[in-house]
């Protein structure tokens, strides 16, 4: 097979690492390198999608080669990632003015990791891409490393997703266990769905947990909230086509495994639906635009997850993929636009952005298109893709369908709020509401406009993916034979609901309350803190104390600063090595004192002792034969 898939991973990785190693010396060339490479990657991805199908692998571990597999889903995803990454990097030219070597370097490595995740054909490669993606996301979110909050947010993101990643490690073990005695690449993704019983469930659970963590599904959603501390281009890429979306993608790709495990598919579907509803509600009640978008990411990806979990009527992979792509374009657009405003106006508070769409009309226009798509307004992209998923859901379970529909209404609600806010007339005190985060530039750079326009076009037009002819072919490409199209009734229902909700929200949107539970995303982070982080830290401190007690001579030694090395040994047991050893040592010392007592210096006592001991020796010989 061709070298193309490898290039897709290797090129950005190499270029990114080169930038990172070169450091500040590459500051000037960094942006150019980044964009050119991203461009090449986008082209290559498109080329890949157009031409290549199949598997390629190199020897890696003894039980598993490192393989890349290009199928319809992977090709589509890779292309999406490539294009959006390119557009985001272009926009970033305007926003990132210092530390470009670091930004573009990390971004390229990130893209490489995403590509590896997308294409990986086995758990090693998948996990490699998966974890590097997490690590680079840490560095990207914490890009402004002098701000403790940004750094903490990065740490939270990495730790949360890594906690979920453990699932993949377990899945790998299960794969190895379930293929005992078999040859070949035992960690291949395609083998997961045919694992024998206990291991199948372990693998399914592991994959589900890992994906839920990355996709910010319940209960892991909170990391996404903090991740907004990163620069807007980072958010735009992380939350649209990469990182978060990868969780959904993985589930789509491994839907066979979920289906084979049975319960896993159902759980997945319900997880997606629940997240769509819960995080939709959270999004509706935010005050901060980026927080709103973040919550909506979770909610929208809920539909991808839902799609992955659907098994009835041949599944919903086509709808999920469409939802994935449409959401990627839409969300990238919205984040970039939010970033542009943040950059220009210095605020991301909804209250501060009132009328922003009128101040910067192009941005306002594309933002509105994006928001409308997000709202599921016909005939925009997300309307169609969501309904494709929901149609299958209805075939499987009515409650699931209802939940999905509720999520859609909520989505229309928060999208409507955004539209209402940005399209409202500029208030007189607008200037006073700006610059809440940082001093804005009050200027939108030309370089930012083109990508926004492209994305807006995509967000609007990707609905074509649901045109019957396109959708059918897409379904075939994705390996879905018989596809259930949403009925006109369903389409009308969701469209109608969306219109109504948007209208309502745009009208009353500024009166929406922001309860604490919504602002804190159900207090998930606090809960994680209380249930996991603090106990672990407490346990760590406790264990450290135990450990120190056990070995405190060094500590105590530092404190007392005794200098006389001749007394080392004495100090060793004065302060104790550890309890047991200390007792042994002090016991030995006592014994040692005792051992010197016979040596009295008095000959007659030597005589007496020797006589008695010799007597004992005779007795010993007499008694023991």
């Amino acid at each position: 097979m061709s070298v193309l898939p490898w290039l897709l991973v290797g090129l950005p990785a190499t270029a990114g690492l080169a930038l990172l190693v070169a450091g500040r010396r590459a500051e000037r060339e960094a942006a150019a390198v980044g964009i050119v490479v991203a461009g090449v990657v986008a082209v290559l991805a498109a080329l890949l999608a157009a031409t290549v199908r199949g598997t390629t692998s190199v020897p890696f571990l003894v039980v598993s080669r490192l393989g890349l597999r290009v199928d319809g889903l992977a090709a589509l995803t890779a292309m999406t990632v490539g294009v959006i990454a390119l557009l985001v990097l272009v926009v970033a030219l305007g926003e990132i003015s210092a530390g470009r070597w670091r930004f573009f370097g990390l971004m390229l490595v990130f893209v490489a990791a995403v590509m590896l995740t997308v294409l990986a054909d086995d758990l090693v490669g998948l996990l490699a891409g998966w974890e590097v993606m997490g690590a680079t996301s840490y560095a990207l979110i914490a890009f402004s490393w002098t701000e403790p909050k940004a750094v903490t947010a990065g740490s939270t993101a990495l730790l949360t997703t890594r906690a979920a990643d453990i699932g993949l490690y377990l899945a790998a073990g299960a794969a190895l266990a379930g293929t005992a005695g078999m040859g070949g690449s035992r960690l291949g993704l395609s083998r997961l769905s045919v694992l024998p019983s206990p291991w199948l469930h372990v693998a399914a659970a592991g994959v589900l947990v890992a994906a839920a963590g990355k996709a910010a599904q319940l209960p892991f959603s909170f990391w996404l909230s903090g991740a907004m501390r990163g620069p807007s281009p980072v958010s735009a890429l992380l939350h649209s086509a990469a990182m978060v979306a990868m969780g959904g993608y993985l589930l789509l790709r491994l839907r066979g495994l979920l289906a084979a495990a049975g319960w896993a598919a159902t759980t997945t579907a319900w997880l997606g639906a629940a997240t769509a509803v819960a995080l939709g509600a959270v999004a509706l009640l935010q005050r901060d635009l980026k927080q709103l978008l973040a919550a909506s990411t979770s909610a929208q990806l809920g539909y991808v997850v839902l799609a992955a979990g659907l098994t009835a009527r041949g599944g919903a992979v086509q709808g999920g993929a469409a939802q994935f792509v449409a959401h990627a374009a839409t969300k990238a657009l919205l984040f970039l636009a939010a970033g542009v405003w943040l950059h220009a106006l210095g605020t991301k508070q909804l209250s501060g952005l009132v009328g922003a769409g009128r101040r910067y009309r192009l941005v306002g226009a594309v933002f509105t298109v994006g928001a409308a798509s997000l709202a599921g307004l016909p005939p925009l992209s997300l309307w169609a893709s969501k309904d494709a998923v929901l149609a299958v859901a209805r075939g499987q379970s009515l409650p699931l369908y209802v939940a999905g529909l509720a999520g859609a209404v909520l989505a229309a609600g928060y999208a409507g709020r955004m539209i209402g806010v940005v399209l409202r007339p500029l208030p007189v005190d607008a200037e006073a509401r700006y610059d809440t985060e940082a001093a804005g530039t009050r200027r939108v750079r030309a370089v930012e406009r083109l990508p926004l326009a492209v994305l807006a076009l995509a967000a609007a037009a990707l609905g074509v993916l649901e045109l019957p002819a396109v959708a059918g072919r897409l379904g075939v490409a994705l390996g879905q034979g018989d596809r259930v199209s949403p009925s006109w009734g369903e389409l009308a229902l969701s469209g109608g609901l969306a219109v109504a909700a948007v209208a309502a929200a745009a009208w009353r949107g500024n009166r929406v309350p922001s309860p604490r539970w919504a602002l804190s995303w159900f207090g998930l982070q606090a809960a994680a803190g209380a249930v996991v982080v603090r106990p672990v830290l407490g346990l760590a401190r406790l264990l450290a104390r135990v450990d120190d007690r056990l070995l405190d001579p060094a500590v105590a030694g530092v404190a007392t600063g005794t200098r006389r090395a001749a007394r080392l040994a004495a100090r060793l047991d004065d302060h104790g090595v550890d309890r047991a050893v200390e007792r042994i040592v002090s016991g030995t010392r006592r014994l040692a004192e005792f051992a010197r007592r016979p040596q009295t210096g008095q000959v007659h006592q030597y005589y007496a002792q020797a006589a008695v001991l010799l007597g004992f020796a005779v007795v010993l010989l007499l008694i023991v034969r």
């Binding site: 005992a180 672990v536 100090r571």
Partner: protein, 502 residues
């Protein structure tokens, strides 16, 4: 012969240096580095030759085999040789010592003796990994303790260094005696009596002697566990590291700890297979406890070097988990177990490289700031970007991010151990989360945020970069192209699994 020459070249150089007392300091360092580099070249060459099948004869699994009488009365000989198990460790040893040599360019306290001591220490470490005779193994084991004692006591820092050194010495020496008792048990059980490892592996002298085999195994295991160190025996490690000089710590953690884990794979598993299988659950439990205990205690540290020291306990715990799981035969196939063992071996190499780098970096920290207390720093990334970047890379490598060797090791350990020790592995794998957390906290404390004070903090010098950079590059190379090492490790791991399953 060639192998022996490579092993003893450093100590010969040390003798020359000591005898040549008036040598200028610069020249001493040049000699030291040159010899170290020569060792690296030598062992890489040996590796390539081995991979091509050179140096082997007949069915002997060991290449470059030399077997001479030494203490014939006690059935002990000078028997050395290499295989896929020892070669990676030998190369890693040579590399770590080279890094230590390059790093120590500016050692001002008795540089000549320092160099000589390290060269001698290098011979003991190399010797241990080539030894195919238990007594030879033991000799090198003990000599390494003596050498390291002087490194810590003589060139360490802190008022407690002598106490720490003594503690290190006492602990590990006690361990070594338990080891010796176990060896004697093996020797006596063999017929004819012998300390020869190849012969003992062939004979499995205590097979079928339930209780005595278990006792012998426990004796050896205690000795090795102290050195490794695993959970209840690890308390010597943090003070020893805290007070040791940077190069000493790098060697101690990078190389000396591997002596323990290497012993498990080289001695206990092949020679006492049934006892090992009987006690495998114990090693798994100790591995899991060590991994979590080390990670959690490290999480609570504020002293950078102590923190790294505790992460060593964590990483060694994984190795124990893997070798223990390889002894649980139920429900798995040999290949899965060999994955665990291969992971353990890669982990030895990987941990050697990464931890050596981290300790050298800690040395830089102490050199600039005079303390390891992470809270005394902050925002260093602004003034020392190269240092920050390299430390961050090392930290991520240590926490097992793919791309570096640690991932290859830990992935194989977890994947390979899970089939036989499912619950234990599922618990142990939580360790990667804790290590991630602690390294992130450490990075945040030292490098990120705003600077706490305006004290100058010079970035890495070229020399330091030259010492530490190659370690990370090697880790990266193994992480991206694991076949580099797995090519020899895999067969060795399979062989171990076959031996332990007998």
């Amino acid at each position: 012969m060639l192998l022996s020459l490579l092993v003893f070249l450093p100590v010969l150089a040390a003798v020359v240096l000591v005898l040549w007392r008036g040598a200028p300091v610069r020249l001493v360092h040049v000699v030291w580095v040159a010899v170290s580099v020569a060792e690296v070249v030598g062992f890489v060459g040996l590796w390539i030759a081995y991979a091509r099948g050179a140096g082997r004869s007949g069915a002997n699994p060991y290449a470059f085999d030399t077997d001479r009488a030494w203490i014939p009365g006690a059935g002990s000989g000078y028997h050395v040789g290499v295989d896929g198990l020892s070669l990676p460790l030998l190369a890693m040893t040579a590399v770590v010592f080279t890094a230590a040599a390059v790093y120590s360019r500016r050692e001002s306290r008795d540089p000549l003796q320092f160099a000589a001591l390290f060269l001698a220490l290098e011979t003991t470490c190399l010797g241990l990994f080539v030894a195919l005779d238990l007594i030879l193994f033991f000799v090198f084991f003990d000599l390494s303790i003596v050498g390291m004692y002087f490194v810590i006591a003589g060139w360490g820092h802190g008022a407690t260094r002598a106490a720490s050194a003594l503690k290190f010495f006492l602990y590990t020496f006690v361990g070594s005696l338990a080891l010796l008792l176990g060896f004697i048990g093996l020797y006596v059980a063999a017929d004819p009596h012998t300390f020869d490892m190849v012969e003992l592996t062939r004979q499995m002298p205590l097979a079928g002697h339930g209780a005595s085999a278990t006792l012998v195994l426990l004796a050896i295991a205690v000795g090795l566990a102290v050195k490794t160190p695993t959970f209840p025996f690890h308390t010597w490690l943090p003070p020893a590291h805290t007070d040791a000089p940077a190069a000493g710590s790098a060697v101690l953690a990078g190389v000396l700890l591997k002596m323990g884990t290497y012993g498990f794979v080289r001695i206990t598993m092949p020679m006492l297979p049934d006892a090992w299988r009987g006690l495998a659950w114990l090693f798994v439990v100790i591995g899991v406890v060590s991994a979590l205990w080390g990670a959690l205690v490290a999480l609570a540290q504020t002293n950078f070097k102590r923190m790294i020291a505790y992460t060593s306990v964590n990483h060694m715990g994984y190795i124990l988990l893997a070798v223990g799981a390889a002894g649980l035969l139920g429900g798995t196939d040999a290949t899965a177990r060999s994955v665990a063992v291969a992971g353990a071996i890669v982990q030895m190499v990987s941990h050697g490289l990464i931890t050596a780098a981290l300790f050298l970096l800690a040395g830089v920290l102490f050199d600039r700031g005079g303390t390891y207390d992470m809270d005394r720093y902050g925002g260093l990334a602004a003034v020392a970007p190269r240092y920050a970047a390299l430390t961050a890379a090392a930290a991520f490598a240590s926490l097992g991010i793919p791309g570096f060797s640690g991932f290859i090791a830990e992935f194989q350990i977890f994947a390979g151990s899970l089939p036989s020790a499912t619950v234990a592995t599922a618990i142990a794998v939580l360790g990667i989360l804790v290590t991630a957390g602690l390294f992130l906290i450490a990075l945040q404390r030292m490098f990120l945020g705003l600077r706490r004070d305006g004290r100058p903090f010079a970035d890495l010098t070229g020399g330091e970069l030259l010492a530490i950079g190659p370690l990370m590059l090697l880790s990266l190379a193994i992480g991206v192209f694991p076949r580099l090492v797995l090519g020899v490790i895999d067969p060795a791991a399979r062989a171990v699994v076959v031996l332990v399953s007998r």
